[in-house]
């Protein structure tokens, strides 16, 4: 135990006296005239319900959050009366622009609205009714093995930071919870897909895991968010798009996953944009970080355990012609994905189109 109560309350006569007084009907009512803002929020649109945006008012709103949170290290709800003696809950991320994105409240609301359930939203019986050819099923299983591995990391990354983030950033923390459950769903769906197809899981990837560990163990939250929510999410969204044509069941799986990952990407882009708008001096720092870290994109994308099943599935088989066709398609896919990633960075304010080393490794005319 690292934290103990300030006294043994069982022997605290003051407490016993207070409790007896209250239970005799002599209430303190010390809270009754709390000097907080009086508000009555209502839904602006009854169909959409009461959103966080509807509650973005006065001292309660996120609109008025200061860049530096200096006056609350507890879990006291934003806008409530802060009383003396509240403990420090150990938050180490107290600067708004280190975590915030203008779209975060809307993304949280969207995440709740678009929830789905792998157990029942997929027609699992269709897999047995219309099995894929053995080589394609094996490739799906290998792809799902890699995606389960990646999803575990994408689930764990927000969990590592959420308890360090000041509670004043409630909507952001809530969004990170939505991201965790989205990725839990991906862990689940890819595992189940592999186990339901008749093949089981295949091989984990040493190179992808080395790269994933580097992303997961980023030193700061902006670095972690940039690497996971922008760089890795760009790759994974591309993989989902690329893989959606395998079968009707798989198309539905990948479409559902795509909407979750697109949301992560929207947060990541919004976050880094906000971060740089408020801390422009960090641009060079993030460039330097990506100079060192973008190799992990290749470590994942070029790992045989991800690359090869993508080629087999793109070419729809393992014949020589199919593999040649598949490899050309995947080459284009990788170039397109890196282009899209660099476009996003450019739109955020991190133009790396001439600086990044990634393009030369994915160019369709590369050796």
């Amino acid at each position: 135990m690292a934290y103990f109560a300030e006294k043994n309350f069982f022997e605290d006569l003051e407490l016993i006296e207070l409790t007896q007084r209250v239970f005799a009907g002599d209430l303190t009512l010390n809270w009754y005239n709390s000097p907080t803002e009086k508000v009555a929020c209502t839904p602006r649109d009854a169909v959409r319900g009461l959103t966080y945006e509807d509650c973005n008012v006065g001292t309660y709103g996120y609109g008025g959050l200061p860049e530096f949170v200096r006056n609350n290290y507890s879990m006291a709800a934003r806008g409530s009366e802060i009383v003396p003696g509240l403990p420090d809950l150990g938050y180490t991320i107290n600067r708004k622009s280190d975590v915030w994105s203008e779209n975060v409240a809307a993304l949280y609301e969207e995440a709740k609205t678009r929830r789905w359930t792998p157990a029942v939203d997929i027609d699992w019986s269709a897999l047995k009714a219309a099995p894929l050819p053995a080589d394609l099923e094996a490739a799906v299983s290998q792809l799902c093995t890699s995606l389960e591995e990646i999803s575990l990391v994408m689930m764990e990354l927000p969990s590592r930071w959420v308890s360090a983030i000041n509670q004043e950033f409630l909507e952001l923390k809530s969004y990170l919870c939505a991201q965790m459950i989205d990725e839990a769903r991906h862990v689940e769906i890819f595992r189940k897909r592999a186990l339901a197809g008749g093949t089981g899981l295949k091989r984990a990837s040493a190179s992808a895991e080395q790269a994933l560990k580097e992303i997961l163990f980023a030193e700061t939250y902006p670095e972690a968010s940039l690497a996971c929510n922008v760089m890795l999410a760009s790759l994974i969204l591309g993989v989902f798009q690329q893989s959606a044509a395998i079968s009707a069941v798989d198309a539905k799986i990948f479409r559902l996953c795509m909407q979750d990952t697109a949301r992560e990407l929207a947060y990541g882009v919004g976050h880094i944009r906000y971060h740089l708008q408020h801390q422009p001096q960090r641009a060079e720092y993030l460039h330097d970080y990506l100079d060192r870290t973008e190799h992990t994109f290749l470590g994942i994308a070029a790992s045989p355990e991800l690359l090869e099943p993508l080629i087999v599935l793109a070419g729809k088989g393992t014949s020589k012609a199919a593999l040649a066709d598949g490899s050309q398609r995947v080459r284009k896919f990788l170039q397109h994905t890196v282009d899209a990633y660099l476009e996003r960075l450019s739109a955020i304010g991190l133009d790396r189109r001439t600086r990044s080393r990634l393009p030369k490794f994915v160019a369709t005319n590369a050796p």
């Binding site: 006294k7 309350f9 303190t28 507890s74 157990a119 809530s174 089981g200 040493a206 163990f217 593999l323």
Partner: protein
């Protein structure tokens, strides 16, 4: 926190050459096709429930045959997959199944996924226009909601803090933690939104309760954190929700409490089944559990200082601040306090810790409460 991959992939000539050769020629290694893993075809046992984790509890992929100590996998390799040489150590700190596991963990996870609800749309906020609460009730209710808003997300922060420390072979637990994080975010959201619709807004934070939150946050092990968070604290909050449904001022509020109760009951269920698992599989923990509960109960008793929770409850129970209202409110509140502690001991009984009732100093609180009831 920082890790650099053992390989810089831009600089690894063999890796790059192989990748570029593959893309250029379409000649693949394909050795993964013959990965040494089990061939299975899992199917839903019940079409209506869909394909569940229980349906996937087969052979090397399953959780039933998972060993007590995870010695073979310290990476993110999915359980049952072939683990190649060179996967990194993810630095998991919890590699013993009985430190985290719970009977029916897979069922709690599936239930959580299927019973997600939306605080924005599943509470009929528009109907609140029909109600106008008297000042005393409105303020008392806002104060109760302030307390609930304040405490809910500790149950996000604590499990989330542990998720990354658990071995990836325990992914069902990690997934359950993810659902709990979302559940608690939704609870903080719904109580906050409700407070902001009352006309009074949020009110006063609670020092006594926040110190308790810090205690929950700083437990030494996952088993201790779960014991006090899931079983003790959330168990007591579950009783509070049940009484809050009873005393809440509108039908809208009753619906809100029914929704949060189903989530909370799931968390308490996990906590109980986890403690039961610990006591069944790691009996050496029993004394540590008692020691941790000794301090947890000290905080519970110290909660008497939280008049900002106790008093609104009295006013809401008695439906006002007149003398007769307060008298009625005190009766209901005393019953509630007694019920809260009694249910806590009952839960511990069911988990296999019946001696707690005798050892606990909370008996003192029960005596005081009984005296209040007798005096009334």
């Amino acid at each position: 926190m920082s890790y650099l991959s053992t390989i810089d992939f831009f600089e690894d000539k063999d890796f790059i050459d192989k990748y570029q050769y593959t893309l250029r020629t379409g000649e693949l290694d394909l050795s993964w096709m013959n990965a040494a893993t089990e061939k299975v075809q899992c199917e839903p046992q019940n079409a209506r429930r869909g394909l569940t984790f229980r349906d996937c509890d087969v052979g090397s992929y399953g959780f039933t045959d998972m060993p007590e100590l995870i010695r073979q996998n310290r990476s993110f390799a999915p359980r049952g997959a072939e683990i190649p040489a060179g996967v990194p150590d993810l630095q998991a700190e919890v590699n013993r199944k009985s430190e985290v596991w719970a009977y029916n963990i897979e069922g709690y996870y599936e239930e959580a996924m299927s019973r997600q609800w939306n605080a924005t749309t599943d509470v009929p906020w528009e109907e609140l226009r029909k109600y106008e609460l008297p000042e005393a009730i409105g303020k008392a209710y806002s104060q109760l909601l302030t307390f609930l808003t304040e405490v809910e997300m500790i149950a996000t922060d604590v499990p989330a803090k542990w998720m990354g420390r658990l071995n990836a072979d325990f992914f069902e637990v990690k997934n359950f933690i993810a659902t709990q994080a979302m559940d608690e975010a939704r609870h903080a959201e719904v109580f906050r939104k409700r407070a902001l619709t009352t006309g009074w807004g949020l009110m006063r934070a609670s020092k006594a309760n926040e110190c308790n939150l810090k205690f929950l946050r700083d437990a030494d092990s996952f088993a201790e954190a779960s014991l006090t968070l899931h079983l003790q604290a959330e168990g007591m909050v579950l009783t509070l929700f049940r009484f809050s449904e009873l005393i809440s001022p509108t039908e809208v509020d009753k619906k809100m409490f029914r929704l949060v109760m189903q989530d909370e009951a799931r968390h308490v269920g996990y906590g109980m089944q986890h403690l039961k698992w610990v006591l069944d599989h790691f009996p050496e923990r029993r004394e540590i559990i008692h020691r941790h509960l000794d301090e947890a109960e000290n905080f519970v008793f110290g909660g008497g200082y939280a008049t900002e929770v106790l008093e609104p409850f009295i006013i809401l129970s008695g439906k006002g601040m007149k003398k007769e209202n307060i008298e009625q409110g005190l009766k209901i509140t005393a019953q509630f306090n007694l019920k809260q502690i009694d249910e806590y001991f009952e839960r511990l009984d069911k988990c296999g810790l019946p001696e707690r009732r005798e050892r606990s100093k909370l008996a003192l609180a029960m005596e005081m409460t009984r005296a209040v009831i007798a005096a009334q």
